[in-house]
């Protein structure tokens, strides 16, 4: 790892200022992605701005049919939160299956979605549930937030403050793990919310998370696994790597979508 200047501001406003002042700053949340990247010397920020001191980034609250999760909430906190379990049990279950206990104890929702790993779980949840991402300066809908591989709508110095998830009447996540990393080889999050059925796929797309409109329309009248019988996704635009070719990923999307719908009940 290259050396850097470490800062630990005590508010989001100070963190934003620190980022603006730095020549090449990076915010640090749980460090479960940033630190391994820096260890491999693949990132060399001049300044690392640790958000751990910003008290305004933690906390989970439920109100008016939605749950709001502070950016620095860990995966373990989300998995164990009674607010999340009450409003969207599938979201709690998904968070409880990210990585391993040590990763869940430190990794955060803010870090996960800011990083937008194409095989990460949260992006699928955000898109399927129609989440809103609140930053230090604006609100962004999940559909607009995830813009490509490891790419988001965030500005360089923009900090995620919280994520709000509207409760869904039905939701479930099915994850097929890549056997080595245990990230999603393919993950499918389905939800039946006020705006209708949504199906979001992670792990498979060349550009990260995507929605499957054919499945969404099949489900909109009839939210059942059987409704997906004829629906399939094309292998075009899906990833091929040593773990899975595009056609296998496309096949898995179909299988997992049905299983998720069945599990959502």
């Amino acid at each position: 790892m290259y050396d850097f200047n470490y800062q630990k501001p005590s508010s989001v406003a100070d963190a934003v200022n620190a980022m603006k002042a730095a020549s090449d700053g990076k915010v640090l949340a749980g460090g479960q992605t940033l630190l391994p990247t820096m260890k491999q010397r693949l990132a060399s920020p001049s300044d690392v701005v640790d958000l751990a001191g910003c008290g305004d980034l933690s906390g989970i609250s439920a109100s008016g049919g939605s749950v709001t999760i502070g950016a620095m909430c860990t995966h373990a906190a989300v998995a164990g939160s009674s607010d999340v379990k009450g409003a969207i049990p599938a979201l709690a279950a998904m968070a409880g299956d990210i990585g391993d206990p040590a990763v869940r104890a430190r990794g955060t929702i803010g870090g996960s979605i800011a990083n937008n790993d194409p095989a990460a779980d949260y992006p699928a949840a955000c898109v399927a549930l129609g989440a809103t991402i609140k930053t230090d300066r604006r609100e962004i809908s999940a559909d607009d937030f995830f813009t490509g591989l490891f790419d988001t709508a965030l500005a360089e110095d923009e900090i995620i403050v919280s994520v709000s998830f509207p409760a869904a009447s039905k939701a479930a996540y099915e994850k097929f793990k890549q056997p080595a990393s245990r990230f999603a080889l393919v993950g499918v999050f389905v939800a039946q919310g006020s705006g209708g059925a949504r199906v979001a796929v992670t792990g498979a797309g060349e550009n990260g998370v995507f929605r499957v409109s054919a499945m969404e329309s099949a489900l909109s009248g009839n939210f059942s696994a059987g409704a997906l019988d004829g629906a399939s996704v094309s292998a075009d635009g899906l990833n091929s790597d040593i773990h899975a070719q595009a056609d296998y990923r496309a096949h898995l999307v179909g299988v997992l979508a049905k299983r998720a719908v069945a599990a959502a009940g």
Binding site: M1, Y2, D3, F4, N5, Y6, K8, L28, G31, Q32, L35, P36, M38, K39, Q40, V48, D50, A52, A76, G99, D100, P101, A102, V103, A105, R106, S181, R182
Partner: protein
């Protein structure tokens, strides 16, 4: 150079580090507590697991400066003098270790698991160990050890 202070195994410690110094380097090199191991460079193996403020953490994936003010427990801090911690005793009793390299991280993870679940099932133990790789034991005896250790910790 930043200075860090924390409590490790009940003792207040401090030292000068670089910003980039990892917690595991601080533990192994500055404090000479070499029980915490490094088995990978991608945060995948769990050989480096310690407890930070009562939660499991991979000390290879944390900066020393992030542990400022924290309460850290390493494998050296588990036993009470000559008396092994019940989880350590269970590993010995069930042959839960061979080469011993994964063992410190395995035991620290197991203690956390047992703290959170007094009577874990085999399935829960296997899932709870997802972040710890052992190449020697095939996990069979580790699973037995964790079950026994959890029982004895609860009692």
């Amino acid at each position: 150079m930043p200075t860090v202070s924390m409590t490790v195994n009940g003792k207040a410690v401090s030292g000068e580090v670089e910003s980039r110094t990892l917690l595991v380097q601080f533990i192994r090199e500055h404090l000479e507590l070499t029980g915490t191991h490094v088995g990978c460079d991608t945060s995948q193996c769990g050989a480096c697991v310690v407890h930070v403020n009562g939660e499991v953490a991979k000390s290879c994936t944390m900066l020393a400066v992030q542990a400022e003010g924290a309460n850290v427990t390493t494998i050296e801090g588990l036993a009470n003098g000559d008396d092994l911690h019940p989880m350590q005793e269970a590993f010995r009793n069930n042959h839960g270790l061979q080469c011993g390299f994964c063992t410190p991280g395995m035991v620290m993870t197991a203690v956390d698991l047992a703290n959170k679940n007094k009577n874990p099932s085999e399935q829960q133990i296997r899932e709870g160990l997802e972040g710890n790789i052992c190449r020697c034991t095939g996990y069979h005896n580790i699973v037995k050890s964790v079950a026994e250790g959890a029982r004895n910790m609860g009692g």
